[in-house]
């Protein structure tokens, strides 16, 4: 795709957890696998000064959610919204000032915390505490300068565990961990640029050594738009490698919506009022399991006609989805499981006759589409009301909204972009004066920059510049430095992070969940000669797949140490069997013979050792 002619604009918001302790209380930041007590609460949108209620807030409360908060043994009353916040964590403030300095930002003179209304239950108070720490900086990525508009310090939300019907369960262990939020200007023009910027900011954050590491400790929100489209926020992407995919897919989605808009405009589509019809009688004998099931549960089949929408709901010829999934996502907000639309029917057990009957019941012309929902009357009505609202919005093109990223690189509608004015001062927290002396000392003690680290790695550990660069970008530079420093063998360590980890990812495993101790065990055992370095990928695979310790994985893989005598014996046997071949080819036979021996010994013995022994044996035979 030619992103420049599309007018692609991307801005990133990066949220990075700090390792400085919680922001407003003194609780541990560790995640807990089990919980202690439970608290059940509701949140309710509050009126603004003018009696207005926020769009997004209202939508959340429509779902009539209640929230189950699981405390962990080290949760406190601050986290349970039962005690005012303590003073803001000094070390977290300093970490954000340090990061500001690294991006040449201007810090405010006094930091004021605000309450940002969030009523999806992720904060027990119904708001997130957040403060603007600095503004107006920039970073250099390649030779492009990317503006950094703001750096905020805020508290992380509670960890969402499950959602069943109207109940969402959260655990309080994550709530209140300090987050640095960095917002760039919308300066990125290609999906790849978005990734590079995220990598660079990630590397700078890690350089401070005040950030938490591992899955979920850094999250990206992507603000994406194309010309004629709208700002859409894909919120909470966690995997760096998926960033360009999200950007690309969102650009495609907006294009498809603009295409649908063009068709609708050409046909003269007009915003529709809500006209819901109960068409349950048409499906009394239906073979469609979904509809039949709903009718048996005393539900109804309700439908609306979407004037002029035929053909805009299903996928394009290139398989790019259009309005169908958008309408379905909005319907789901009202609590129904899904919907059927005319572009996908007949299908799912709905016959052509039933489609035609529906069309005539709705008075649908060939250019019209329809949507039907089967559920309790209340839910189905609410769902179709949302469907018509969303369809009407489609005539205008791309609506601004927040979307949830999916693991396959697509995203799904989650809620409207939150309104702007839902922030007011957190009067329970004292303002923090940004002391000139603190600022000076931060500036004098800035950490090693990523590029400085690359040069040092090359010099200190003898790895190539490319390797060092990749390590710093990968986020495993600290692990590498620690392990290469204590075990030597920097090539092996670098290869684990730069080659083995991506390979493991490719087969669907999650190597970032391996903690440092596992890799340490691998290196300890390797050094002790328990196996050869070739066995490392298999061992890590087994650790990840079976949850084994390194020792257990080694045993079960049968890669235990083979002594040199048996290596010699295998070599002798193969050399004897292939004597003629060796005499014909001379020293050149080493390669093919090596292959045969490796087949038997791979992973058990270092290839280097084998090739030395073989070379010696072949030489002996030839003389």
């Amino acid at each position: 795709m030619d992103y420049r002619s599309l007018g692609l604009k991307v801005g990133i918001e990066i949220h990075q957890q700090l390792s400085t302790g919680k922001l407003f209380c003194d609780c541990q930041c560790d995640f807990s696998d089990d919980h202690h007590k439970e608290i059940v609460r509701r949140l309710r949108p509050t009126q603004s000064e003018l009696g207005e209620i926020d769009r997004a807030a209202l939508e959340e409360s429509e779902r009539k959610m209640h929230f189950r908060y699981q405390t962990v043994p080290y949760s406190c009353l601050v986290e349970a919204d039962e005690e005012p916040p303590h003073d803001a964590n000094r070390r977290a403030i300093e970490a954000s000032l340090e990061m500001s300095a690294l991006m040449g930002m201007k810090a405010v003179d006094e930091v004021h915390f605000m309450r940002k209304i969030v009523i999806d239950g992720s904060n027990t108070g119904g708001f997130q505490r957040t403060a603007l720490v600095s503004t107006r900086g920039s970073i250099l990525v390649g030779d492009k300068r990317i503006g950094i508009s703001t750096l905020c310090l805020e508290e992380d939300a509670a960890r969402k565990l499950t959602e069943h019907g109207s109940e969402v369960t959260y655990r309080l262990d994550r709530l209140g961990i300090p987050l640095i939020e960095i917002a760039t200007d919308p300066d990125m023009a290609t999906p790849e640029e978005a990734k590079y910027v995220a990598e660079r900011i990630g590397a700078l954050l890690r350089a401070t050594k005040k950030v938490r590491r591992g899955i979920g400790t850094i999250r990206e929100d992507l603000n994406i738009s194309i010309s004629g489209g709208a700002r859409v926020e894909v919120k909470g992407a966690q995997e760096l490698r998926l960033i360009p995919v999200y950007v690309e897919e969102e650009a495609k989605r907006q294009l498809a919506l603009l295409d649908a808009k063009r068709i609708l405009r050409e046909r003269g589509a007009k915003p529709m009022s809500l006209d819901i019809k109960d068409i349950s009688p048409l499906f009394r004998e239906t073979r469609c399991k979904v509809l039949k099931g709903a009718l048996e549960e005393k539900g109804r089949v309700l439908a609306v006609k979407l004037r002029k929408f035929a053909g805009t709901l299903g996928s394009t010829e290139n398989g790019v989805k259009r309005l169908g999934p958008e309408l379905a996502a909005h319907a789901r907000v009202a609590g129904v499981k899904g919907l059927f639309h005319s572009d996908e029917l007949p299908g799912y057990g709905v016959t052509m006759t039933e489609v035609e009957d529906t069309q005539s019941a709705l008075g649908a012309e060939p250019e019209d589409a329809f949507v039907m929902v089967a559920d309790s009357v209340d839910k189905a009505m609410a769902a179709l009301s949302r469907v018509v609202d969303r369809a009407n919005a489609a005539i205008g093109g791309v609506p601004e909204e927040t979307r949830d990223p999916l693991p396959d690189g697509h995203s799904v509608y989650s809620r409207p972009l939150p309104g702007k004015d839902r922030m007011y001062p957190e009067t329970d927290v004292k303002p923090i004066l940004v002391n000139e002396t603190v600022l000076e000392s931060i500036k004098l003690n800035l950490p090693e920059l990523p590029e400085e680290k690359v040069s040092r790695f090359v010099e200190e550990f003898g790895i190539s510049k490319e390797q060092a660069d990749s390590l710093v970008k990968s986020g495993y530079e600290d692990e590498f430095e620690l392990l290469a420093g204590s075990f030597g063998n920097s090539q092996v360590v670098a290869r684990i992070y730069l080659n083995t980890f991506p390979e493991l990812e490719k087969i669907g495993l999650n190597p970032s969940s391996l903690n440092l101790d596992v890799v340490k065990d691998v290196l300890t055992n390797l050094k002790a000669g328990a196996f050869a370095k070739e066995a490392i990928p298999d061992i890590l695979t087994s650790v990840l797949q079976n949850g084994y310790s390194v020792e257990r994985a080694t045993e079960t893989l049968g890669v235990e140490k083979v002594d040199l005598d048996s290596v010699r014996a295998v070599c002798d046997r193969v050399v004897r069997a292939k004597e003629k071949f060796i005499r014909d080819r001379g020293q050149e036979s080493l390669g093919p013979i090596m292959g045969l021996v490796m087949k038997e010994l791979r992973g058990k013995v270092d290839g280097k050792v084998i090739s030395e022994i073989l070379r010696e044996r072949i030489k002996l035979l030839l003389t």
Binding site: R42, G126, P425, L433
Partner: protein
């Protein structure tokens, strides 16, 4: 909340007022935003601005700073709302006294203001109107720590008036800090109740989506409309969850936590009722609605004091206070004891005609001055034990009793009579 000193003068010279959009320039730095009030704990040289992105920041102002007003504050008016009336529904009265529950936040400044009108208060919980017609009145707009005995009198009168003119119950939104004192005062001042009088508070302000105010107000409304209760109660969350509320007898309730939603506990008795969603469950005996009219006994004599005894309490201090009051409630240690030194003070006070009543600072359990010699000596000195009455309730009751009569014997008789459930004779295992 106001700017003072150098910054204050600078803003005044620039004619910049709170709410104006101003430009603050210092060297090469320029910030444009709405001028916000000065935070109490903000440094004196700092101006607080609300930036267009909604964030407040503090910026330093000094001799080099230049302030310019970009645009004046926009006056935005709140819509005046009228309470609806449905003849099919019963009337309840909401008499607001102030506190967290009856306050709203000015989202522009973050300042918490008391609700200006009762309509504001009711419309912040519009669900109330589904259950009843609401007669709303803002009687006071004060933090509960500023309550005085005269406020209790005014409140008792207003409550009696509402009940005697057809309200089936009265809800009193109140600051939580001294809500237990007020509920006790109302319990003594109002006799022959035709409906419940429910003091309701909030531990989380109503600007927060997590506020407990809404649930408490709704439960109180249900209790007014759907029960036969004829007592003064305090109704608050029963636990940290938004699951149920508990109605506690006005004379047996105490705020036992500085911040939790379930801060209020019945002490030495069971709560009267539990309200869970639409369900009302009575948990202990209670007085039912009378046929009326409500009797008002609002005379009160404020010349009393409450003393918390502690090791090292000096007799001088006791004597000093005793010289200025007509009656004292002592919260003694354990079963109700004070030191030998204070024993002398008690004796001197009683001799001068000061009433001395004894409660326990343990709160749970009753006083008993028969067990140890100190106790026996206190009784000999003229101190009167008050069973398991809470010290705060005893203090309120003493002032009320002194307001009813000048006869020491009558005061003593009133103090020892169980008037509003302030005594329990049995405390369950």
């Amino acid at each position: 909340m106001k700017y003072s000193g150098f910054v204050g003068e600078m803003l005044e010279r620039a004619k910049a007022e709170l709410g104006d959009v101003i430009e603050a320039r210092r060297g090469g730095e320029v910030y444009v935003g709405i001028l916000m009030p000065h935070h109490d704990f903000s440094s004196e040289s700092i101006i607080t601005l609300k930036l267009p992105n909604g964030y407040n920041i503090g910026i330093r102002a000094d001799e080099k700073s230049r302030i310019k007003v970009v645009s004046k504050r926009e006056e935005r008016e709140r819509k005046k709302q009228v309470l609806p009336y449905d003849p099919a529904k019963k009337d309840i009265a909401v008499i607001s006294t102030g506190g967290t529950i009856a306050s709203y936040v000015d989202y522009r400044t973050g300042a918490v203001h008391p609700a200006i009108s009762a309509e504001d208060l009711v419309f912040s919980v519009p669900e109330l109107l589904d259950l009843a017609n609401v007669r709303a009145k803002v009687l006071y707009s004060i933090l509960s720590e500023n309550m005085k005995v005269t406020h209790w009198q005014g409140l008792a009168r207003a409550v009696a008036e509402e009940l005697n003119s057809g309200a089936v119950g009265v809800i009193v939104p109140h600051g939580t800090d001294t809500m237990g004192f007020t509920s006790a005062a109302l319990a003594f001042m109002l006799r022959n109740l035709t409906g419940p009088v429910i003091c309701v508070g909030a531990q989380r302000s109503s600007d927060r989506p997590s506020s407990d105010a809404i649930m408490n107000l709704l439960a109180a409304t249900r209790l007014c409309v759907e029960s036969d209760l004829g007592e003064v109660v305090v109704l608050m969350h029963g636990e940290s969850s938004d699951s149920y509320t508990l109605a506690h007898r006005g004379t047996k309730v105490r705020k036992m936590h500085s911040s939790r939603r379930d801060a209020f506990k019945s002490v030495n008795s069971e709560p009267i009722a539990k309200v869970e969603g639409p369900q009302i469950e009575f948990l202990s005996e209670h007085a039912s609605r009378s046929k009326g009219p409500v009797e008002l006994k609002d005379k009160i004599d404020g010349r009393a004091s409450m003393l918390h005894f502690y090791p090292g309490f000096e007799a001088d201090h006791f004597d000093l206070i005793a010289n200025h009051v007509k009656g004292m409630v002592v919260a003694g240690t354990g079963l109700g004891h004070v030191s030998e030194e204070i024993l002398g003070s008690v004796s001197r006070a009683v001799d001068k005609g000061v009433y001395v009543y004894v409660t326990t600072q343990c709160l749970y359990g009753a006083v008993n001055l028969n067990v140890y010699s100190t106790g026996r000596d206190m009784v000999t000195a003229g101190a009167v034990p008050l069973g398991d009455m809470l010290p705060e309730t005893a203090y309120v009751k003493l002032m009320w009793a002194m307001g009813q009569t000048n006869d020491p014997e009558e005061v003593r008789k009133l103090m020892l009579t169980n008037i509003a459930g302030e005594f329990t004779t049995r405390r369950f295992v």
